[in-house]
């Protein structure tokens, strides 16, 4: 049957913007020009008078007709701070960030809605702006939420292992700091959906760029005050997500608009709105000290990571939740004695924070990788030598790390060794020496990382929900349902490979159905697709295969051990007479003769249907409490050249070695690696959302918020190791976020290496040309 690829490549994709329904109205949002202000007056009369306008929805309407956005993560623990603010999908009284929507126009067409949106008059009374985390945490800073004592949303404190002993044993303690700029994941397609409230049936149906339909149904139903069973959320083709399309926020306004007008209502977000109204990520600063021995043994870390969260997330608690993995991830893949980590999250007058590829797991790893390379330099060791000294070894798995992660397995030294085979670092180091004499600044970066994948944590909506169904239809085709929405990351290809491999059917006979809220699950986030949904699908396929074997054995009058299935043909031992295609087999099982001729036991066990619905849970989490199940491994080596005049960094070589366990689809994995690496390079060298002191976002389009083009993106060389995970059903490990972690870290450390003659520490990102020039000029140009 026709593949997704064929449909999309021939121009017949159906993305949110392509949705069209009879009598469909269009919705456009109006955003606040102020970062913090009271809404004094909001006049919609002129807008409503524009011909073609159906209705204007204001914050007051939203407060009147909907509930506050539901809590998605809640952690109160003695000694910790954890606060949640009550927010609606649109505010009635106060705006808290530049761009925050205050009204929405519903019109017959989008152009009319846009024209009318310009005619909405809002009078604001500006309030003092909290422009960043540092300001937010000052005593007497203006407060974002009146009922909070201050602007601190989160303060978590962790002791892993024995930090005091680690520092006592140290030969030296090195002070370290680091900062990451604020970024946005920015898929090329914005958010968008169509909502339809059926007044007759009292049901709400939505179609659109929904990354996590099951959770989004819960959250939209809660905000709308509708019984969840009467709400249906359906994912259509999605133009990239990276975590940015898990929202149930503006979507509520679309649902309300349909409820109030009785029409199908469509909203498709312009890119500017996508940038200005978040979600944003990173924007953290680390301060700390690392304890080491003079031989390079890593002992301990004491550090605080402060997050500029912007306003309360529209996914309430989800921004705050990302501080947990930020605090845990510095252990990375090394043996440590102890760590004391504190994670702080401050609210500011910036757009909200939410998931983007990495979700905090990236932050600790990038930080520690920069720290380790600094330690190596101070100890006169190479980056590879210090790693080889501290890696957890292949015979130590499963390894319970001090942060409570249970690392499944891997070959950490082998991964780095493979990368060193790909890049002759000694040759490049010689080149670097030579270059320096002639004023060229070449830098070599090496980092290694694991990626904690497949989140399952308590007290939030990410506790480990997943469901899969694999069924053979009466015509012999196979349908697959799971919660793994196709967002371009290859869910469909992967599921097809898994199911056809286990069932023995033809790949082209497998149809992976679009994900809807009918299938329970958290959806594809935290790289869980290859871990949870893939395991559930594999488990369902195995159970279905057992049924097929059993049914076929009875049809052939043989035993299940005789059944052989390959390439869509079900056979019996060596008997070439006894063969059935899937279509013939299914026809027998369903209709002619149908269930009545199946073995009596099958019927008495109610096992007559060729359909299996099941779930899957991580085998390592229940006993250990590990929040993640698989840990893929990667090593990145980059060689860069920094032009100290222009500040421009050029990537001369990029190698990435990956061990994601069993390879379900090499092209999918390689594609994830390429894309993730280039996103990480964007963060390392160019991407940063810049707010001024008044909370105005200064770069609001692709022209100003630069992401890598084909010209900046390097040629990437990839090699694979395969260490199947004992914890997932297929042996595969989640890997979607690993590439963005390693690439950002490796480019920054390579830039630091290039600039080492100036004594420059790259403690801030992006290392944009302007920033590099400032660093070089700040070092007074003395090459030391």
């Amino acid at each position: 049957m026709e593949s997704r690829e064929h449909r999309l490549i021939s121009g017949r994709g159906q993305y949110a913007d392509d949705l069209d329904f009879p009598g469909m109205a269009h919705l456009v949002f109006v955003g606040s020009p102020h970062a913090h202000a009271r809404i004094v007056r909001l006049d919609v009369a002129e807008a409503e008078a524009v011909p073609g306008v159906i209705r204007v929805i204001t914050g007051a309407d939203v407060v009147e007709h909907t509930h506050p956005l539901p809590v998605q993560a809640n952690f109160t623990s003695p000694g910790w701070t954890w606060r949640l603010a009550e927010v609606y999908a649109m505010p009635a009284d106060k705006v808290r960030w530049h761009g925050e929507p205050v009204a929405a126009v519903v019109a017959e067409d989008e152009r009319t809605a846009r024209i009318a949106a310009d005619k909405i008059q809002v009078e604001y009374d500006p309030l003092p702006v909290v422009a960043g985390a540092e300001d937010a945490l000052k005593p007497n800073a203006p407060k974002l939420y009146d009922d909070w004592p201050d602007n601190k949303q989160v303060h978590l404190k962790f002791d892993f292992g024995d930090p005091d002993a680690a520092f006592k044993e140290a030969d030296r303690v090195i002070t370290v700091s680091n900062r990451e700029g604020r970024v946005t994941g920015l898929p090329i397609e914005g958010r968008g959906c169509v909502g339809h409230y059926d007044r007759g049936k009292g049901t709400l149906t939505m179609w659109g760029a929904f990354q996590t339909p099951y959770l989004q149904r819960h959250n939209i139903a809660a905000a709308m005050g509708l019984p969840e069973a009467r709400v249906s959320i359906n994912a259509v083709d999605i133009g990239g997500a990276f975590g940015l399309k898990i929202h149930a926020w503006k979507e509520n306004v679309v649902a309300l608009a349909s409820k109030l007008t009785g029409r199908y209502v469509k909203w498709f977000e312009p890119q500017r709105d996508f940038i200005v109204t978040g979600p944003h990520q990173r924007d953290v600063s680390w301060q700390g000290e690392v304890a080491v021995k003079n031989d390079g043994t890593l002992l301990g870390l004491r550090a605080t990571v402060t997050h500029d969260l912007g306003v309360e997330s529209t996914q309430k608690g989800i921004a705050a939740l990302s501080i947990f993995p930020a605090c845990s991830s510095p252990c990375n893949m090394y043996r440590w004695k102890g760590m004391h980590i504190e994670g702080i999250g401050a609210v500011t007058n910036k757009s909200f924070y939410c998931a983007y590829r990495g979700y905090g797991k990236d932050k600790g790893i990038k930080f520690i990788e920069a720290v380790i390379n600094r330690v190596a330099r101070e100890l006169n060791m190479t980056p590879e030598a210090i790693r080889f000294k501290n890696f957890i070894q292949p015979d130590e798995f499963p390894f319970k790390a001090i942060n409570n992660y249970v690392l499944d397995n891997g070959d950490y030294p082998g991964t780095l060794n493979r990368a060193l085979e790909m890049v002759d670092v000694d040759k490049w180091r010689a080149e670097q020496e030579k270059g320096r004499a002639g004023g060229r600044h070449i830098g070599i970066g090496i980092v290694t990382s694991i990626e904690p994948a497949g989140v399952a944590v308590p007290n939030c909506q990410m506790g480990g929900l997943t469901q899969a169904r694999v069924a053979i239809c009466p015509d012999g085709t196979v349908e697959v349902d799971s919660d793994r929405t196709e967002i371009g990351q290859g869910s469909e290809i992967s599921h097809v490979n898994i199911v056809s491999g286990i069932l023995g059917c033809k790949k082209e006979d497998v149809y992976v159905r679009p994900v809807t809220s009918e299938t329970i699950g958290q959806g594809p986030l935290s790289s869980r697709g290859a871990v949870w949904p893939a395991s559930a699908v594999a488990k369902a396929a195995k159970q279905l295969r057992a049924k097929v074997d059993r049914f076929a054995a009875s049809m052939f009058d043989a035993t299940v051990d005789d059944i052989r299935i390959a390439d869509g043909v079900i056979g019996c031992g060596k008997d070439t007479e006894k063969q059935l295609t899937f279509a013939e087999f299914a026809n027998k099982a369903f209709f002619f003769p149908g269930p009545r001729r199946l073995p009596k036991e099958v019927l008495l066990e109610h096992e007559q249907l060729l359909s299996v619905t099941t779930t899957w849970y991580s085998p390592s989490t229940p006993e250990s409490g590990s929040s993640y199940t698989t840990f893929c491994t990667s090593a990145d080596i980059a060689v860069v050249e920094v032009d100290t005049e222009t500040g421009v960094t050029k990537i001369l070589k990029y190698a990435h070695v990956h061990d994601a366990g069993t390879v379900i689809s090499k092209k999918v994995i390689d594609g994830q690696i390429h894309g993730g690496i280039v996103q990480g390079i964007g963060e390392a060298l160019m991407e940063e959302l810049k707010y001024d002191r008044n909370g105005q976002l200064l770069n609001t389009s692709f022209a100003e918020y630069l992401i890598p083009t084909a010209v900046e993106a390097p040629v990437i060389e990839i090699a694979h190791l395969v260490t199947p995970s004992p914890f997932s059903e297929t042996g595969a490990k989640g890997m979607g976020e690993a590439p963005i972690i390693g690439s950002k870290a490796v480019i920054l450390t390579a830039v630091e290496d290039a600039l080492s003659p100036f004594g420059i520490l790259v403690e801030d990102s992006p290392a944009s040309p302007e920033r590099v020039r400032a660093w070089v000029n700040g070092s007074k140009g003395d090459e030391q």
């Binding site: 993305y15 994941g185 371009g488 894309g675 692709f702 992401i707 084909a710 993106a713």
Partner: protein, 162 residues
């Protein structure tokens, strides 16, 4: 104000009434339902809306529908021969040059025009990268897109239809 324009779209002649302020993107998507022409920035920065206008790639979001009067326009739909995929489409599928697929129609158009105009020999990587600089992709890191365009050129040189 309504204006009547005449286009040749995907080899078919068509007369269309458009508004004076309407962009070519809007006319193609909303009036002609050519939804392969994707909308993202609407500011000429992303290339998702790229179509070929008299053989040259343009950002249809920046062009007024009326200004394209008389033009020969090609969109991704027009690269198909019935159900048969154009060789450049095959190359994108075979080399996994597409992930979410949102940037893909734009890249197909830019890639198609580049390959069509290129003579002899392999297209070198730098030329391809420069040519597609205006087409942003957030998923693929461009690696397989570049390879797919190179492969399309090889297939064309090997005599595949174009």
């Amino acid at each position: 104000m309504k204006i009547t324009v005449h286009y040749t779209i995907n080899s078919k002649a068509c007369d269309l009434e458009v508004d004076a302020g309407e962009t070519l993107l809007e006319a193609l998507r909303n009036r002609l339902k050519l939804t392969s022409v994707h909308r993202s920035c609407e500011e000429g920065e992303c290339g998702a809306c790229t179509v070929l206008l008299n053989g040259e790639p343009v950002n249809s979001c920046l062009m007024l529908a009326a200004a394209a009067d008389g033009a020969d326009i090609l969109t991704t739909e027009g690269l198909m021969r019935g159900d048969q995929r154009h060789p450049i489409m095959d190359a994108f599928v075979d080399l996994h040059g597409m992930q979410c697929g949102f940037c893909t129609p734009g890249l197909l158009m830019t890639g198609y025009s580049l390959v069509r105009k290129a003579n002899g020999g392999d297209l070198d990587e730098a030329t391809i990268r420069q040519s597609i600089e205006g087409n942003l992709c957030r998923c693929t890191g461009y690696m397989n897109i570049v390879k797919a365009i190179q492969e399309a050129k090889r297939r064309k040189d090997a005599g595949d239809w174009w």
